[in-house]
Symmetry: C2
Subunit: 457 residues, 2 copies
C-alpha cells in the first residue's frame, strides 16, 4: 500500500525540548578563545549577547525546555510536514525512499525563524529592546525581522551588498515586518567605513556584515541593543534541532524504522545541524547512518579548509572559534547561494566532522541548479539556492542506490524556498552562470593567517 | 484551556469529493448565451475546453469525486492548516475568535493550484498536451505552470505587458516550472498583431490576453491544445470548495460549533467561493451565517454594478454570462491587487448575492494595506494584496464584535502570500499609493453597453 505523501504532526505532538548535542559529543570540545589566547568567560560575551543565551551557548545539558511563548509563535507554522518525494523518486528511477522536511513553509520562507524567535524571546526576557544582525542572501535577516516584529522589538539588518543589489525584495520584506535593512559595508559603522575606504567597490561578505552588526550593538550607549547571529553558534544549532526531532517522530509515525542517509546543505551549519544532530545522537549510540553536509565547491570550508582557530568575522570582533575555516578574509565567489558564502563553520558541526560522525561533500553551482529544476518540476517547490545543494546531493545518493539496487531511506532538509532568489534561476536558464574553480594556491593564501592562531589539535 | 493555534488534518482526513453548489441554489441559474442570444450547447465550448470539464461546468450533481491523481498532487501541500489568529485578536482587543485558512503555503503561493491541478488533469485525461491561459498579476499563470509541470504538459501564458514588465519574478517562476510566458499583446496571434498594429505601445489588458490565449488554443492545427481559465467559471468554483470543506472539518475537530462570519476577497470569485460555498450550503439549510465577499472599492462589481449578461473578455470571445458586471470595456484603476481587477464576477457568486445568501463590501486600497501590515506584524504572514481585502474586512468585523461585546467566530480565507508583490508594500510605505474615487457617471459610461444584451431578470 502506498504510504502517505505528507506526514503531519499536530502541535500537541511537537517536541517541547531542544536537543543539545554538546552533552553527547566524543572528545573535548575546544572552547572559544579571547584575544589573549585563553578561553573566554561568559562576561566577555555580555556586551554582545544576553546572559540567558550565553548560558545556553555553554550548556552541556542534553535537553533544554522550549519556553511556552516561543512554542506559541512556532505553532503558527510548526510542526512542518515531512514529505515523501514520490515524484522525484520516479523521475530518478531509484529504489530509494526520499523524504524532505519542508522548512520552506515558515512565514519567512526558511528554517531560520526557528532560532530567530527563540533569540528574540530570550533577548526580550533579558530586557533588550533592539537587535542587530547581518544577512547574506536575506533568509536570516528576514527571519529576525519576522521574529522581532511578533515580539514587539526593533531590528536592524546589515545585508551583504552583492545580495542587497541582487535581491531587492528581501529589503522590502524586512521593512514590511518593521525592520531596517542597509547594504554592507555601510557608512554607519567604523568597520564599514574602513573597508569602503580601502575597497569602495567591494561586494561585501558575511564576515564584514557581522563586524558591522556587532559594532552597532556594542556601541549603543543605551545598553538596550544586542547582536543576534543566525548560524555558527551552539545555541543556534540547539534551537534548530526541533527540525530533526520532529522528523524522527514523523518517520516513527509511518513506521519507517531505519534511516540510511541524512543530508543538509551547510554554510554556517544551522539547517544541517538542525536536521542531523538528533540523528547523530543515534549514530553516537551505534546506529549506522551516513550524514552528509553539502557545501558549495566555491566555498569549500569542510572539504578543503584546515581545522583551526579563527575569527567569525573580518574585523576580528568575535572570539576565536575552533572550526574548519578558509580564513576570515576569504571572500567567496558571487554564487547565488548567498547563505553558504561563509568562510567558517559551526564549531559543533566542525567537531562532528573531525570525529567522523559526518562527512562533507562539495558541489558546484550548475549541478545544484540542475537538481533544483528537477525538484521544482517533480515536487513543485522551487528550492532556495542554498537548499539546492542538498537536493543535488540527494540525487547523487539516489542514483547510487539505483546502481546498487538498494532500498535506501534518504532524508534531507529543504531549508527554504527560492521565490526571493528567482534571478539566479533566470541567469541559469540564460546560460549566464558558471562554476568557479578555486586553485589550491588561492586557498593557501587566505588560510596563511590562521598560522598565527593557537592550534586546536 | 487555550485551544490549538493551528488545526491540521492529515491526508486521510482530506475531503475526497468537491461540493457543487448548483445542486442546492434557490431559483433558476441563468445559462450562458451564445452570439444568437440562446443558451449555448456543450459542443460550442468544445474547441476551447475538454468535454470532461464542460460536463462539470453544467453539472448539477451535489458531490463530485476528486480523481486519485489529483489528490496525489494536492497532498503535496493539502490539507492546508486552519490557524487561530490569537495575536491579531489581541492586537484588536476583540472578543471574536478569528480563524484563517492558510492557502499561502501551496508551492505557487496561493489557492490557485487547487483548480490548476484539476484542470490540467482533466485536459490530460482527454488527450490534451498543451494549455494556454492569460494572467494579470501572475498568481494564476504561476499556478497553471506548476500544475502542467507536474503533469508533464506544455503551458503557454499570455501575461499582460505592463505586469510582465513590472513583475519579472513571475515570469521566472513560470519558466522554472517549464512554462513559456510571453508579454501580451504578442506577435504570435492575430488578435495580438491587430492590436500592436494599431497601438504599438499598448500596456495590454486582461481582455487582450484572454483573446490571445483562446485564439492560440483554438487555432492549433494539432487539436491538442485547450484554454484554461483560473476563475469565474462553475468548474473553477467547484474545485476550490475543498478549501471550505477542509475548514468545516477543522472547526469540527476543535468543537467550534457555530460560525458567525465567513469572509473572502472576490475578483473573479474563486477563493471566496472555495471557502464560502460549503458554509452557504448550511445557510440554505437554515444556519445563520453572515457571508461577506470583499472587493476593491476601485473595482466595485458586486457593490455598484448591475446584474446583467456580459462577456468575460474585452474582445467578446466568451459566451454571455449572467453576472454582476461593470461592462467588459471597464479598465480598473492600477491598484496592486491585480487579481481583483476584473470587470465581472463568477455567475454562481453573482447568483448567491442576488438571492441574499451573501453580502458584499468594497474597501479602498490604503485600508487594505494598513490591515495587511497589522496582519504581517501579528500573524507573521505577509498577505497578497488581494487577500489583504479579506483581512481589512475581518478587522472591521472584529471591531464590531468588540463594540457589541459579542464572542463571534470569524473565518476567512488567506488566499495567498504577498512575497511576489512586495513592490506594492514598498510603495505603500513610501506613501506613493492612493485610493481611487470612481464617480457614478464613469461607471454608467461603462455599463451602458450592457443594455444591448438580454436581461437576465
Amino acid at each position: 500500500m502506498r504510504k502517505m505523501t505528507k506526514i503531519t504532526l499536530d502541535e500537541r505532538e511537537m517536541p517541547k525540548q531542544w536537543y543539545n548535542i554538546a552533552a553527547d559529543l566524543p572528545g573535548p570540545v575546544n572552547p572559544p578563545l579571547g584575544p589573549d589566547g585563553k578561553p573566554i568567560g561568559p562576561e566577555m560575551l555580555a556586551p554582545v549577547f544576553p546572559m540567558n543565551l550565553i548560558e545556553q551557548e555553554v550548556s552541556t545539558q542534553r535537553w533544554i525546555d522550549i519556553p511556552e511563548k516561543v512554542l506559541e509563535i512556532l505553532y503558527l507554522w510548526r510542526p512542518t510536514p515531512l514529505v515523501r518525494a514520490y515524484r522525484l523518486e520516479e523521475a530518478i528511477g531509484t529504489p530509494a525512499r526520499i523524504y524532505y522536511k519542508n522548512e520552506s513553509i515558515s512565514p519567512a520562507g526558511s528554517h531560520k525563524p526557528n532560532t530567530a524567535v527563540a533569540q528574540a524571546y530570550y533577548n526580550k526576557a533579558f530586557g533588550i529592546k533592539r537587535l542587530t544582525t547581518e544577512t547574506g542572501a536575506g533568509q536570516w535577516g528576514s527571519a529576525l525581522a519576522f521574529a522581532t516584529s511578533l515580539l514587539g522589538m526593533e531590528c536592524r539588518v546589515y545585508m551583504v551588498r552583492v545580495s542587497f543589489d541582487q535581491k531587492p525584495y528581501r529589503k522590502m520584506m524586512m521593512r514590511t515586518w518593521g525592520a531596517d535593512c542597509v547594504a554592507s559595508p555601510s557608512n554607519e559603522t567604523q568597520a564599514g567605513r574602513d573597508i569602503l575606504a580601502e575597497q569602495p567597490d567591494t561586494p561585501g561578505s558575511l564576515g564584514i556584515a557581522i563586524s558591522e552588526a556587532i559594532e552597532a550593538a556594542v556601541t549603543d550607549p543605551s545598553g538596550e541593543t544586542r547582536y543576534s547571529l543566525g548560524s555558527v553558534l551552539n545555541h543556534v544549532m540547539l534551537h534548530q534541532t526541533i527540525i530533526g526531532l520532529e522528523t524522527k517522530k514523523q518517520l516513527e509515525k509511518i513506521n519507517e524504522k531505519k534511516v540510511d542517509v541524512v543530508i543538509g546543505c551547510a554554510g554556517g551549519g544551522s539547517n544541517f545541524a538542525g536536521l542531523s544532530f538528533p540523528f547523530i545522537s543515534d549514530k553516537i549510540n551505534g546506529a549506522d547512518i551516513d550524514v552528509i553536509a553539502v557545501e558549495p565547491a566555491s566555498c569549500p570550508t569542510l572539504t578543503r579548509a584546515p581545522y583551526s582557530y579563527d575569527h567569525g568575522d573580518v574585523a576580528r570582533m568575535t572570539p576565536l572559534l575552533a572550526m574548519y575555516s578558509l580564513g576570515h578574509t576569504f571572500v567567496p565567489p558571487p554564487i547565488h547561494a548567498g547563505g553558504l558564502r561563509y568562510h567558517g563553520m559551526s564549531p559543533l558541526v566542525s567537531h562532528t566532522l573531525r570525529h567522523g560522525l559526518i562527512r562533507a561533500e562539495a558541489i558546484h553551482q550548475l549541478e545544484c541548479y540542475d537538481a533544483a529544476v528537477l525538484f521544482s518540476r517533480t515536487e513543485g517547490i522551487i528550492p532556495a539556492p542554498e537548499s539546492s545543494h542538498a537536493v543535488a546531493s540527494v540525487i547523487r545518493e539516489a542514483n547510487r542506490a539505483k546502481e546498487e539496487g538498494k532500498e535506501k531511506v534518504i532524508v534531507f532538509n529543504l531549508s527554504g524556498h527560492g521565490l526571493m532568489d528567482l534571478v539566479g534561476y533566470d541567469k541559469f536558464f540564460k546560460g549566464e552562470l558558471s562554476d568557479y574553480a578555486l586553485p589550491q594556491t588561492d586557498l593557501e593564501k587566505y588560510t596563511e593567517i590562521l598560522r598565527a592562531y593557537p592550534d586546536p589539535l
